[in-house]
Symmetry: D3
Subunit: 240 residues, 6 copies
């Protein structure tokens, strides 16, 4: 089966890293197609970046019909609801994927994200998904997204400090990595702390594979009904 | 003071109607500037339309600096969080405005919106704002947004039927009109049912005027921090 | 338009200070009438004081018919529900006013009140209004209400210490001042901390003006139905 | 041990009925002292009546020191928090007593109260106590409090109709009678419907006896700290 | 990989049916081992049956070490927490599996279970998992578990009636089948109603495969710490 | 009246201690019958121990028909729901008993339990009962259950340290002792800290006496319907 992994930001290097993580998680027989919009924010750090990445992300989904599943590879689950309205297969956000999987492995999980400004969007998502009460706390390591690529030692130290607080002060029993760019740290951190550390990219691949294998699709009733045909001014860049 | 009212959809006739409602609600000394994106969905009915209306709406905000307040005139509060990150004055969504005002006038309020597909986004907003418990129920009259312009009798009958159910079955004590295009029905319905009927456009004007008069601005800490400067591919259509 | 501001405690000096704050916030054309019961507790610090201030507060409302709005100038929103049953115009509590306004400016707000004993009533109000989840924490500066008048330096230091904790430890993005007597500190604190600091008196004036301008009134269905005529023993001091 | 049962309304006949119910529930060795304020509303139906009944109710508590427990015999738990601040023994409201006891006997309970206007105060109490989720629904039989004394057949029919709906439509497994004046119907209704039917007066007596026997008292930390000594204008009618 | 599917009831025919469903859902390379306790209740309908099925279910898990995942094939997720404490691989309940998967495909899902007595346990599980707000309603078709085997027409009619109410009255967008014995109806119902219909057995297989493939295990911190070695009276039937 | 107190663990010394506490709390005329299963875990520390103690606990209830009330003397309220299905009198868990009673004496209570692994089960119970919001925090003293018998000084110091944090950091106003084995510390701690300290054994005795005196029984509708007669394999050890 083919799964499309869309990195909603326009940084191809990050897409490549995410694609590698997705392929490592994929079952034999699953082909990962990874893409990102040609234009749009180079990273998504807060609501404003998010808003401008959505149309490009949706275009990528529309450019790739016939997939068995679609994965939105930004921890904010950017544009998830809109994507569900148009994709003809399940759409999984890496944030929700990690939260749901963590809820199967621990009474409470904690989240480490990049910047403090990203915390509210994650908190709002947890609330909507219903999983706020399962999350011990969302903490920020104060590392910009694109810095995750460099200075691994320092980045790891900052993230580890927050993991320690999540486990010792907040009562977390498992850790969710709150950015697609942290995916490669899961193994290191899991060994260091002796608790499950979840990367949303891998979780989303497994959930998308699972839903596809069962032949399940997004409900077309109410929330995710197909968009109504409507006139759009030129230049909006989509073709509903 | 000047307030910008942005209709996130591209239907100029609807913008004109909204502007008239806003002007009727504005205090002496408040100037209403009304605009809509030149392109984008002609109406917003569900998550997909919402996603494509946001960049245009944000561009309108950026094209109109120096306002004392910004109003997003779609009941879904489309792009509200992103707008707060860039506007240099408070940003009020007409949905949240109506909810907060209704909460000051009634123990529980009910919402009548257009299509069933619009209910989930409203429910999610209520959850995020904290006001789910104050909302008796969100009901849909099953009237497309652009039909609100025509066939008033039939539209009014459909909306009245849902209002009746909200008051009699669901325990609502006040009614929130769940679409900017219903604003002109507030007086008629209020007289017919003898309870407060709130139009979000007017509510948002009063809240924006109030916040501006107090000199209050959106917090710049965490959630609504100004966007970080970042490289964007061409064509993304914004200039952060 | 005329708004009645009732200070539910019997300290005329505090009423005068509140009236000045209300007038500073009022629009041109709004006349603030300020009053307090002749008898009753000199300050309201906890549930017991609250209970004895309510009948006097309600009498003040009944003594001033024909207003366009009524403001209860105690942060506990003392007697708010009862007032709504009898006032022929909207009634706004300064606590709820500040909470709702803060919710439009920040993802989460924090509250600084006077004494620890006042925290539970505020927490209960937040729960009822639906805004608990929007409040990062309610903290007490451990300053009695009437001491807010004296020793400004020390009072400011104590309040600032709690603001610091709300912003740094609790994740608040805006601050609500949890006592009418703190209203004059809003500007100083806002400058010092660089975040919105909300005074409920000003917020209530703007919300009352807004509701009145829209012609909205409290719902008379269920919760705030007019009191039924009934026999009352002598001396109860009201005339329903 | 002596327990004071305060009927917050001024209808002596209702006090007598409540006293009889309380005595029927009391253990050997428990003496029930029943009282009501000489003045104040003859019945409590909504927030306004509640506000005016509180000072008189608190005066009754202060006039009867040395009790082992205090029971507030109005289903709204009128003035409960204030009473806890001054009573030197536990204070139990009949509403909360019935809710907590019902929560020990059923997964979900339903409440039948008198008038629709009384529903919101009960809903707010359930929210504060934490027991909203345990309550299937609060319904009103549309019978004024003082009519409970007369026309038993018709009253019983109206209440039975709501009980039926609570059990059949709302999923209630036990019924709480939402007014002290309904206490004498508990046995009849329990037999008719075959589910537990709880009268708050009896429940409060047992909880007060229980707390007293264990030597437990209201916490004096924070919420229910003793009132601070303060100057009060004449005529306020209390002596803190 | 090997997954153990434990049917906690002792009806071998039901285990066979569940095993077939699990095998149909399993990926190539996944071996399903299905078992049930030799003794214990023949079906689980309510809390009492649940309690007596747990020790046998746990024994089955202990008798089958070395699996890559364990599935508890009762919709109540009977004994799930205890199983997590001892299994050396993830443990997935079919109830939670269906809820989490449904939450990825719909804004709100509805549940159809067998008997009314089974509703409360499901509601409690939803509350604990955090997914109450995502569930439109839990309804019972009033069909005993073991009757699911017979009289398919009548059973299907009863279940369809509840599905209709979930979709039309309660706002559900997807349906979760609330009993392992209903698994074979998923396809029929999905076609009939045009919405996703989820069978927990298949969902659990995919989630267990996914967790195993990622190398994730249950957290051993706090909730699911390994049992402490302790003395047990003879006959307790376990060997911790 | 006779009350059965079942200690679900098999440590007779602990049963004797619990029985003494229960007798100290019982009214004249109440006879306490105390028992524990002959086999099963010697202490209950986490979900696994809990699961294996339930069948023995239920057998004890079935071996003692005709009681006026049943008390489950483990703070986890082990097997409470199942017990309610079979007992012909109310069943009270000592955890819920303490929570409900504490909610009548304080705005928020804190819980001190034995081991960190026991916290999640308590948190889940609070959530189900509805009382999470009334609980400031659940803390563990890190003392194994059976160590409560020995080294009183050290145990008391560890528990006191957590009580201090509950009162000073978490806002608790009363303390609930989170293990039947701590019951004898209630008086000492209450004197030391000046706040109510609740032992669940005593609370359960008073609630059971109260319910019995009122003639109330567990509802037989839905959740706690009597078990359906069913075939059970040999050796399951019960006789429904």
């Amino acid at each position: 089966m083919k799964l499309l992994v869309v990195n909603p930001n326009s940084t191809a290097a990050m897409t490549a890293k995410i694609a590698a993580m997705a392929r490592a998680a994929a079952s034999t027989g699953t082909e990962i197609v990874a893409t990102n919009p040609a234009t749009g924010p180079e990273s998504i750090e807060g609501y404003f970046d998010e808003a401008f990445s959505v149309p490009g992300m949706l275009n990528e989904i529309q450019r790739h019909p016939g997939m068995r599943g679609y994965i939105i590879a930004c921890f904010d689950d950017t544009g998830l609801d809109a994507a569900r309205c148009i994709a003809d297969a399940p759409v999984i956000g890496i944030g929700e994927a990690a939260f749901h999987m963590a809820a199967l492995l621990a009474h409470k999980f904690g989240v480490v994200t990049t910047l403090p400004r990203s915390i509210p969007a994650i908190e709002n998502n947890l609330l909507r998904y219903g999983l706020s009460g399962r999350c011990a706390k969302v903490r920020a390591a104060d590392v910009p997204v694109l810095d995750l690529e460099h200075g691994q030692e320092q980045v790891l130290a900052k993230i580890s400090a927050e993991v320690t607080r999540l486990l010792d002060e907040d009562g977390a029993e498992a850790i969710v990595l709150g950015c697609a760019g942290m995916a490669d740290l899961a193994t290191t951190l899991s060994r260091r702390f002796g608790v499950p550390v979840l990367d949303g990219v891998a979780c989303a691949v497994k959930l998308a594979e699972g839903a596809a294998a069962m032949g399940l699709k997004t409900s077309r009733v109410r929330a995710y009904a197909a968009p109504l045909p409507k006139r759009i001014g030129e230049g909006a860049g989509f073709a509903a």
